[in-house]
Symmetry: C2
Subunit: 329 residues, 2 copies
């Protein structure tokens, strides 16, 4: 009898197949993206559950992460995040003091991102039937008439822009989980992308699509988009910003930074003639100082992500396979 | 060190204190009711996580329950449920076939209630770190200009109307959990209350407030309202509909039906002069055939729920104490 595997939640190939064949075949959800667009009421709507382990990690915790994740999903479709719901599933025996730290972190992250927690729910499960605390946040963002980010708008010739260095979140969580300490510590990049987006007012029309490469990492996100939009995305490995220390940590942990989860960067597909201005605008914000143009959209081969390696070769990038990094968010 | 107890999620007194002192003191959420009212955009917004154990029970399952729970929260504030999000936290090893049954149940329950699942999320946790499947649904309902249900509108002299017999859900789940079989089986009352509400068009102005007595049961819900509105609610025990078999089951299980969770009835506070018409309207719908007028609102003593017992005596009802029925929803 077929059973659920960790890989079904990894963000990679197995999860994509599972969602398509195991979930959407039974329960059809139209136009699945980061957030649902409800045009009739000018709102975007999204949900995310967070099961990250451990709940505290360098640079964040499950509380701030649960705010950022939902804020970012709303931001990626071009909406202004405004209202969030908060639902806690707590394991019996979880220390009250830790819960308060998490709630405090949620309060601070919400205030920073400019969203309001307006409704909530609390459930408790018996010891051994959960794992500390799981958090669900759903969110509502306001659509703006002049903004429409959608993979459908991506055109061959668009440049691919990355707003910051990758793999920080995944490495920070994995290091904490495995008791590895880096000095200085590798910090998660968990942060609200709507603040960075504010720098891009005036460029909205030149930005065709945007997505945050969370579970499955940059490679998986690019592959998803290449398949959806039936284009080729060519990336220059040397152009992809990875912090020196993070690169070292990935080597140590035996993982590829292109497949490691991020929680505070986005990849944007932009018109070439505006790309330099957009890059400069991003670099002017502390959350965008490592921004870089990392590649280009081509017509063919359709559905393919090509990585130009530093040695002049190329290789095709597929989605993450298996369950490399379970419970990273 | 203070730790989370099962009672913190029971819906009773301990949970109310915990939410007030443990959660809202750190993370203030304004005007906490079943759903947040976002007047500016004419929507209501709510969230609920479902951890019911077992996931399948007579009359429903965690899937249909997760749709009904959110639909009902939206309905209780007078909004028209429209969009829901669906987030799954699945334990590694959970049988795919059971998951499909649950998803199918969600699809059917959504179609029946007239809501659309528009966005979702899937997470998987390791074996032993969850319990089968937990589901979160958040929902958006549309506010109607002519409808405003709010405890603030309750007045002394209002009659208290209950839309159906109580304790069916809690007894069905407890029986399943303990391997007790009733013949015929006691079925959960889990169902979408917006269908029943449609019978009450034309009476909206006479309905002052409405709430569904879920965790904590009817007694806890009445006590909440008595405290919020600073009134006395007097109930006639003989008038509260409890199915014969459910009453017997409660005696067997040693629980009081007034404190058992419901998932398909509401208590409404209505103007006396319209109460008969409202009752008749409800009785015309299959979900309201057991509807009854069960009591009356009085000015004093404030914050008190008085139960007139069948023997001419009265007793005060408090909120559920402790964790009588953990993981009932």
């Amino acid at each position: 009898m077929e059973k659920i595997l960790l890989a079904h939640g990894s963000g990679g190939k197995v999860m994509h197949e599972f969602i398509k064949k195991g979930i959407l075949s039974v329960l059809p959800v139209k136009g699945l993206t980061d957030s649902a667009i409800i045009k009739e009421h000018s709102i975007a709507f999204t949900t995310d559950s967070f099961v990250v382990s451990p709940v505290f990690f360098p640079g964040g915790d499950i509380g701030s992460l649960s705010v950022h994740g939902t804020v970012n999903d709303l931001t990626m479709v071009g909406s202004e995040p405004r209202y969030i719901s908060l639902s806690l599933i707590i394991e019996e025996g979880f220390p009250m003091e830790k819960l308060k730290r998490i709630l405090d972190s949620i309060a601070r992250a919400s205030a920073e991102a400019g969203v309001e927690v307006v409704t909530g729910d609390t459930k408790v499960v018996e010891r051994g039937k959960g794992d500390g605390v799981f958090i669900n946040t759903a969110g509502i963002g306001l659509l703006r008439e002049d903004v429409c980010f959608s993979p459908e708008r991506i055109e061959p010739g668009d440049l691919v822009l990355l707003s910051g260095s990758i793999a920080n979140h995944g490495v920070a969580v994995m290091a904490e989980r495995n008791g590895i300490e880096f000095s200085p510590p590798v910090l998660s990049d968990s942060r609200p992308l709507n603040l960075l987006l504010k720098e891009l007012k005036g460029y909205h029309n030149a930005i065709h699509a945007m997505r945050d490469p969370t579970r499955g990492g940059l490679a998986t996100t690019l592959k998803e988009i290449a398949l959806e939009r039936k284009v080729c995305i060519e990336i220059y490995e040397d152009a992809v910003p990875v912090k020196e220390q993070v690169r070292g940590a990935c080597e140590l942990l035996g993982i590829d930074p292109l497949y490691v989860a991020n929680e505070g960067v986005f990849v944007a597909f932009v018109k070439e003639d505006m790309s330099k201005s957009i890059l400069e605008a991003l670099k002017g914000h502390p959350h965008g100082e490592d921004a870089a143009i990392i590649g280009r959209v081509k017509e063919e081969p359709e559905g393919v992500v090509l990585l130009n390696t530093g040695f002049g070769g190329t290789r095709m990038l597929d989605m993450l396979s298996g369950d490399q990094l379970p419970r990273i968010c």
